[in-house]
């Protein structure tokens, strides 16, 4: 089976978030599972051309964009692990410092940029006659691909029989644009209705994927159910509910980079069998965050974007309470300025309890995962979440809100004393969060119980192998929908 994974960011070429990790790792895992997986993304300025020498793949393509045409090329390079990466090049659109916009806002022409990206892929497939059995699209930036496959390019030999899978990594980002951007896409106004690409008078690119893809998936079974409800649906719960028969959830695997036994970024290697290295990591982490001396109390770590989605508003609420507990909190992340400032304030106010690093730093992120005792993830919603999985692997017990992928990957140690791997709270409120933290602290006090919880977490297999196999099953479903045998 030949699969082309299209994404706006893919490790190791360009990354702003988990999407890049998932698409990068999935393509390599698929190769290992015997699937001929390639990937395609835009050629950003961030792509390291020394590491990845580019060669033009096929002729340049002319891409109609509204009333005019943009020319682009597709460059080819080796992504490692047998994966061939294609990079769509148009320097006007992609030779920029950032992927989607500066930290102050999105580029005003994002609709045009990703419309170009999708249409260039279609033109290129048509021109070169490259045939893939399945086109795996991810998030709104590639959501036009399934729509094109079923409309403007439905007669292209290379595309006609291709199944499409559309994966929602984060429903919160839908690619909402002005209605006057519709003609750019080349799709007719007849698709601009609530059953099509319209979303309260605006153009919603993600809907193109939701409506036209053969198979839909999201990154955890719980999230796939949650998004069919108004609470999590971001206004798309209706469309998703309508397509529930074709909607699946597959938990992301994690990268091999995240393995305490081999991780070069942490102070000492450790494993389930020999946890001694974790102590060095803990000391290293405390030092990194400016604390010296013996620290008995549990260390709670947190890494990630400082946004409301990650539960920062809840954290702001319980900040004072946390500072009053017998524990240490380390926070690494950047995001919305208000939360950045709120967290920085907390750190300044309680330097003995809370230490905050407003930054994005992969090295420190590894240190936090390895050196903390507890990992806190009070997300408002979480499609999959990776950090709680890293935590499990690194013997750091997660406290998570029971939502999305968090619900699927963490087992509450009080609800299931023999199988628990962490602590969960359901309601998005400070009381329940406080309760979960208290329960974790209580468990931490019971060393043997705590070790069992840690052990069970480290035992779990979150590698990409099983996830890749589940994706293969989805691809087969997509093919069957196209009337083809897998």
């Amino acid at each position: 089976m030949k699969v082309l994974i299209a994404s706006s960011e893919i490790v190791p070429f360009a990354k702003t978030g988990g999407l890049a990790d998932v698409t990068g790792a999935l393509s390599r895992a698929l190769r290992r599972a015997g699937v001929e997986a390639d990937c395609v993304l835009p050629l950003y300025r961030a792509v390291d051309r020394n590491r990845f020498p580019l060669a033009q793949a096929g002729p340049s393509v002319r891409v109609p964009l509204g009333h005019r045409e943009e020319v682009g090329t597709v460059e080819e390079t080796d992504a490692g692990g047998g994966v061939c990466a294609f990079l769509v090049r148009n320097d006007r659109y992609f030779d920029r410092e950032f992927l989607y916009g500066t930290k102050d806002g999105e580029y005003a022409d994002n609709c045009e940029r990703y419309t170009f990206f999708c249409r260039a892929i279609m033109e290129w497939l048509g021109r070169t006659g490259r045939k893939y059995d399945v086109l795996h699209c991810n998030d709104w930036q590639t959501a036009l691909l399934p729509a094109y496959g079923k409309t403007l390019y439905s007669h292209e030999d290379a595309i006609r029989e291709t199944g499409t899978v559309f994966t929602i990594h984060n429903l919160g980002y839908q690619g909402l644009f002005w209605n006057h951007d519709l003609p750019l896409t080349g799709l007719g106004w007849d698709l601009f209705n609530p059953q099509g690409l319209e979303f309260f008078g605006k153009l919603n690119l993600m809907k193109a994927g939701l409506v036209f893809a053969d198979i839909l998936s999201t990154v955890s079974p719980t999230y796939s159910r949650e998004i069919q409800t108004p609470e999590y649906g971001h206004g798309l719960d209706g469309v998703l509910h309508e397509r529930r028969e074709d909607l699946y959830g597959i938990i992301n695997g994690i990268d091999d980079d995240w393995n305490p036994a081999t991780d070069p970024l942490i102070a000492a290697r450790f494993s389930r069998e020999d946890l001694s290295g974790k102590k060095s990591c803990r000391a290293d982490l405390l030092a990194e965050f400016g604390w010296t001396g013996t620290v008995e109390e549990p260390v709670i770590g947190m890494v990630g974007r400082l946004t409301a989605q990650k539960g920062l508003d809840l954290l702001v609420e319980v900040g004072e309470w946390l500072a009053g507990q017998r524990l240490r909190v380390v926070i690494l992340g950047s995001g919305e300025r208000t939360y950045e400032e709120a967290m920085a304030d907390l750190g300044r106010k309680y330097p003995d309890r809370i230490s905050v690093r407003v930054a994005y730093d992969n090295r420190i992120a590894h240190k936090v995962e390895a050196g903390s005792d507890i990992y806190l993830m009070p997300s408002r919603y979480e499609p999959c979440g990776l950090n709680q999985i890293y935590s499990l692997k690194y013997g750091t017990v997660p406290i998570v809100r029971h939502t999305g992928g968090l619900a699927d990957t963490v087992i509450d140690a009080d609800e299931d004393p023999s199988g628990g791997t962490g602590f969960k709270f359901r309601g998005y409120n400070s009381a329940e969060l406080k309760d979960a933290v208290s329960r974790a602290m209580a468990a931490f006090a019971d060393r043997s119980r705590w070790e069992r919880i840690v052990n069970r977490g480290m035992e779990k297999d979150f590698s990409w192998g099983p996830s890749a196999r589940e994706y293969v099953a989805l691809y087969e479903k997509a093919l069957r929908k196209r009337g083809r045998q897998a």
Partner: protein
């Protein structure tokens, strides 16, 4: 609060950097607000934008709240109100160091809030005011002139960013509209289906304009009232119904005035108020006008302020409307043309069916066969395709109609078989089998069906009485079938009857129905049926005429036969009389001289010399009798020439010597010109002698007062053939031209003593020898016969036929006509 001079440049350059970045305008403004708030220490920096429909200021982005949260601060600052309104009015910075103790003239509470110091800087370029930037702080703050100048510069930079953003925005919108317009244009020219296009245009423009509802009305057939063709949008339940009456009023106004109508406020139209009661704040209606004639109206309704229609939309939609108008006109013309073409085609089809049927009808003159063809034409799928047909004719026995012939299925089984037969026929079955099938569908007992003309109430009778077609879908009205269950009361409710009119007189009718089938009898069917009936009448008339002509001819033949017989007898009698007359004279002469000779011994002895003389006279007369008898006999037996080699010149000399006496008596000189080179010919000498004898004798008789007899021979020229030509000419005055064509007819004669057989015999003999006769007749002078005889005589045919005719007494007209 003041910005130290050393930081001013860095601050300004950062603002310029942000305002020129490629991110969304709100993001840029938000960043600038946040940045300024941080750098100046102000508690809030807020940019108000100017409402696009006036001078009111609306909060847009602010440093304290998220961009999308700014919408929640829903208040307006009118020009001149508050601090910002004053700055907008003055187009200059307005500075209130302490609004609490010294508030603006018209304070706006949402603007003041808990602030003490407010500095308002207009966001404007040299022409246009885009909004106002408020820098507010809770604690009292002071701004130096330099700082205010700096903020003014920043506001100008912001104005530039907003202007650029609007231009970019407008350009994209324009492009979007152009693309859509282009698409609509393409769609409009792609089809003639008006309704499809209207639906497409309504749907597309509705979404392009972000309208809440669109209705297209087109003028009806009567060219005066508008009819709703398309409704699109109206997603709020009941909205369409609520707007119907208002929409109709507005549409009629636009239709009349042929001008677009844009309503965005009560000043535009009194209709604004009633519309706004249904949540509609913007209305646009456009006429669809072609060549100065209104064809319809498109109306758009919008209930959201963000998608109020403006003049740009009007212009855009006018383009669409003019395209639509053309399309509708074209479509109307196309449909008319198509309609005409279809009607023509139907006509042609019918005419060609009728023509085929007429040809079939004319293919026979036999009545029985013709009726058969008629009924087949009526019931065949390639003909008029009725299910059943019955022919009724007026009875000879009284004022009633009698079934003459009926065809078609009597029951469902028959119908099924007929259907299969028709299908089989298409596969090319043999004609015989088909005929058999058809005769299976004939109604053998149809003659039993009789319908009284008067008083029966039967619709077929009515068709005959009124001489017009009758059609019904509700039966004939005769509930109880009183007469025959074979037909009456046994036919479907839907049937038709057309009269058969011969020369203005209805003599019967054709009944048709579609029993066992789902087919109506249409007006068109009746028309074609009527035409067929008149064709059928013609054919039937022809057949009857032919039949009467044939019997007349038979009569004539019998009469003629009888006539010929009697004429033959008459001719014979005449001939007998002529012969008797001919014989009588010689017999009298012979009798006279014989009785004188018989007186011997009675005393009146005659001498030997006288006796010899008498004997000679008697012999001569006997010879004459023999000749008469011989000639007469010529017609009673076949004379076949006995060909021998003979010399024509010898025969001529011989004949001349025979006539010497008569020539001398008649004072006729002879001119003999015999060619020496004549070939010997093969002929019957006796018959040739008779030819010569008859011709010379005729010539001598013609010259009763003397003249010249010319006799000549010569070899025939190559054109004439291989043989001899001889000429016999006289100076007897010729033959009158009015009788010359009769001279070779038997019994024609101009002489008192002739049998009229001489020349016919000549003619016959010459023909039998394969020769020809040429006649040179000069009236008043004489006649010359020139006769060609071939060297080797061919067995002739034409003459034989003539003789044949004569022997049989002549059945052709010639024999009758030529008899004098």
């Amino acid at each position: 609060m003041d910005i130290p001079p050393d930081k001013r440049f860095a601050l300004l350059s950062r603002v310029v950097e942000i305002s020129n970045s490629n991110i969304l305008i709100e993001n840029r403004l938000k960043y600038i607000c946040d940045f300024l708030s941080r750098e100046t220490g102000a508690d809030r920096v807020c940019i108000h934008r100017r409402d696009h429909r006036g001078d009111d200021l609306l909060p847009w982005v602010s440093s304290c709240v998220q961009i999308d949260e700014c919408k929640l601060f829903d208040f307006r600052i009118r020009s001149g109100e508050g601090v910002a309104g004053k700055a907008a009015q003055k187009r200059a910075p307005v500075y209130y160091p302490d609004v609490r103790s010294n508030p603006p003239f018209l304070p706006v509470s949402q603007e003041l809030r808990e602030f003490t110091t407010i500095l308002s800087v207009p966001v404007m370029d040299d022409v246009y005011l885009y909004g106002v930037m408020n820098v507010s702080s809770v604690e009292p703050a002071e701004y130096s002139e330099e700082t205010i100048q700096l903020l003014r510069g920043i506001a100008t930079e912001v104005a530039g960013a907003i202007r650029n953003s609007r231009l970019y925005h407008d350009a994209r919108k324009r492009v979007s509209e152009l693309i859509t317009l282009n698409e609509i244009g393409r769609a409009i020219t792609s089809t003639f289906q008006v309704r499809d296009i209207l639906a497409y245009v309504a749907k597309t423009t509705l979404r392009l304009l972000q309208a809440d509802g669109c209705t297209v009305r087109l003028v009806g057939e009567n060219r005066s009232t508008l009819k709703v063709m398309i409704d699109d949008g109206y997603s709020r339940p009941g909205l369409r119904r609520e707007l119907r009456a208002h929409g109709k009023l507005l549409a009629n106004q636009i239709f009349r005035e042929k001008r677009p109508l844009l309503i965005n406020g009560p000043e535009d139209s009194p209709m604004f108020v009633p519309l706004s009661r249904h949540g509609i704040t913007s209305f646009l209606g456009l006429p669809i006008v072609s060549k100065g004639k209104s064809l319809g109206v498109i109306s758009y309704y919008s209930g959201s302020s963000s998608s109020a229609f403006d003049m740009e939309v009007v212009n855009l939609m006018q383009t669409v409307c003019s395209q639509l108008a053309n399309m509708i006109e074209n479509s109307t013309m196309y449909l008319e043309a198509q309609h005409l073409a279809q009607a023509n085609q139907v006509k042609v089809q019918q005419l060609s069916t009728l023509y085929d049927l007429a040809r079939a009808l004319m293919s026979t003159v036999k009545t029985e066969r013709l009726l058969h063809i008629m009924l087949r034409s009526l019931t065949s799928a390639t003909g008029l395709n009725f299910s059943r047909a019955i022919l009724f004719l007026l009875s000879d026995e009284g004022p009633m109609l009698t079934g003459r012939m009926g065809m078609g299925p009597r029951d469902r089984k028959d119908a099924k078989r007929a259907g299969e037969g028709a299908a089989g026929k298409r596969e090319g079955r043999e004609a015989g089998a088909e005929d058999e099938e058809l005769s299976g569908l004939l109604w053998p007992d149809i003659a039993r069906v009789t319908v009284p003309l008067e008083g029966s109430g039967c619709l077929i009778a009515r068709a005959v009485l009124e001489k017009r077609p009758v059609r019904t879908q509700s039966g004939c009205g005769n509930d109880a079938p009183p007469i025959q269950e074979l037909f009456c009361g046994n036919h479907p409710k839907t049937f038709a009857a057309v009269p058969l009119v011969f020369k203005g007189e209805a003599r019967g009718a054709i009944y048709v129905d579609n029993q066992f089938r789902e087919r109506e009898i249409t007006d068109e069917d009746i028309r074609v049926l009527t035409m067929f009936a008149s064709e059928a009448c013609l054919a039937m008339e022809n057949a009857m005429l032919y039949e009467s002509l044939e019997s007349a001819l038979d009569n004539l033949r019998a009469t003629q036969g009888r006539l010929v017989q009697s004429e033959k007898l008459a001719a014979l009698g005449e001939m007998a009389a002529k012969i008797a007359h001919e014989i009588k004279n010689p017999l009298t002469v012979i009798g006279g001289f014989a009785s004188r000779l018989a007186r011997k011994g009675t005393g009146e002895e005659i001498d030997a010399q006288t006796s010899a003389k008498y004997n000679r006279i008697i012999l001569k007369e006997v010879k004459r009798l023999e000749r008469i008898i011989q000639q007469t006999l010529y017609f009673s037996r076949e004379v076949v020439p006995a060909l021998r080699g003979m010399d024509l010149d010898d025969e001529i000399r011989e004949i001349l010597s025979m006539f010497r006496e008569e020539l001398e008596e008649g004072r006729i000189v002879t001119d003999l010109d015999l060619s020496a080179g004549n070939p010997v010919i093969s002929a019957d000498p006796d018959q040739i002698r008779q030819v010569l004898w008859n011709l010379v004798s005729n010539s001598i008789q013609a010259m009763d007062s003397g003249g010249k007899l010319t006799l000549a021979t010569r070899p025939a020229t190559p054109e004439e053939g291989d043989g001899v030509v001889f000429l016999i000419g006289d100076t007897g005055g010729g033959i009158p031209h009015d009788v010359v064509h009769n001279i070779f007819n038997p019994f024609f004669t101009t002489k008192a003593k002739g049998t009229g057989l001489g020349l016919p015999i000549v003619h016959t003999i010459v023909e039998k020898h394969g020769g020809t006769i040429h006649l040179d007749n000069r009236e008043g002078k004489g006649v010359t016969f020139s006769i060609f005889l071939p060297r080797v005589s061919k067995v002739a045919g034409a003459g034989e036929r003539i003789l044949d005719h004569m022997r049989k007494g002549g059945t052709d007209g010639g024999g009758v006509k030529n008899h004098p």
